[in-house]
Symmetry: C2
Subunit: 154 residues, 2 copies
DNA sequence: CCTATATCAGATCGACTGACATCT
DNA sequence: CAGATGTCAGTCTATCTGATATAG
């Protein structure tokens, strides 16, 4: 039943639905590429935060990435046991860790970047380069407006 | 810490991440608007399918909407107890239901359509009409290419 | 004493799996 | 008997809440 498999036009007319569906698909596709290298989306998020902003406490990372501090624990455990990050107690405030990227962590990030590129080739195949940039900019504007966390650094 | 709340530029450079985040936001925003009227996204999906294609069996609806048949049961229970749909056994094949929209179901759909419009005004506020259409078309092309279910009827 | 940090235990929700009674 | 349909029970994951030990 190829015919019976088509989504209702009334649903496809709702941009929010398309966003939701495309978002799920994007997350899944990126997730599959990353998992081939023992990486998870939350891992990638933490690695980029450390790469872009330098060492930080777990609380800071969680606030930046909108990841609940309690959920971050397992993520950091993974990253540490893979030797991608290092956790040291902050001598100035021994409640905190100072989390920093290792050499292997930087390498993992490069791998993840290739995964992202592969994801885009797959996910955005029907769009040419100009259209991909167009989509990217539109999404960025939407997020920047709605989510104060989405602002790039100024 | 306004400064500490910004997402890593390296993450914001990944379109798949933007899609994932925007998708989550879209689902959440639409969900909030709908829940004000005792509606859920899955309810909306089923209602549009019945409106666009007419009465159908639960299995068909599930296949169309990529909702697991076992998960549909609770959704249909909700819709039925709200008197938005009607379940009759198919006399020609008594395994199936013939699910159809009620008058109240059509009304609920109109309400949901207003919720969707309100969602877009909120979600897509930074985009003008032309840009919203642009985004919509780009998303549709991406979905149509990747998900055979996303094809509109031809 | 109050607050912040990291952690753990548990609730909740959406999506998925397996089994089953009923019917064709 | 094999296969389809609706249903139920249970798993798995991500997300969120609440509590707690330790430190400031």
């Amino acid at each position: 039943m190829d015919d019976a498999a088509r989504l209702p036009p009334s649903l496809l007319a709702i941009t929010a639905f398309l966003l939701s569906k495309a978002g799920r698909l994007a997350r899944q596709t990126l997730g599959e590429h990353l998992s081939a290298h023992q990486l998870h989306l939350s891992h990638l998020a933490v690695l980029t935060a450390l790469a872009d902003f330098g060492p930080a406490a777990q609380r800071q990372l969680g606030a930046r990435l909108s990841i609940d501090p309690s959920d971050l624990v397992a993520v950091m455990d993974d990253l540490e046991s893979a030797d991608w990050i290092q956790r040291r107690r902050d001598p100035a405030d021994r409640r905190r860790y100072v989390v920093s990227l290792t050499k292997a962590g930087w390498t993992a990030l490069e791998v993840a970047a290739r995964d992202a590129a592969a994801t885009h080739d797959e996910l955005l195949a029907p769009l040419d380069l100009r259209e991909r940039e167009q989509l990217h900019r539109l999404l960025l504007r939407v997020l920047t407006h709605l989510d104060p966390h989405a602002r790039a650094e100024g």
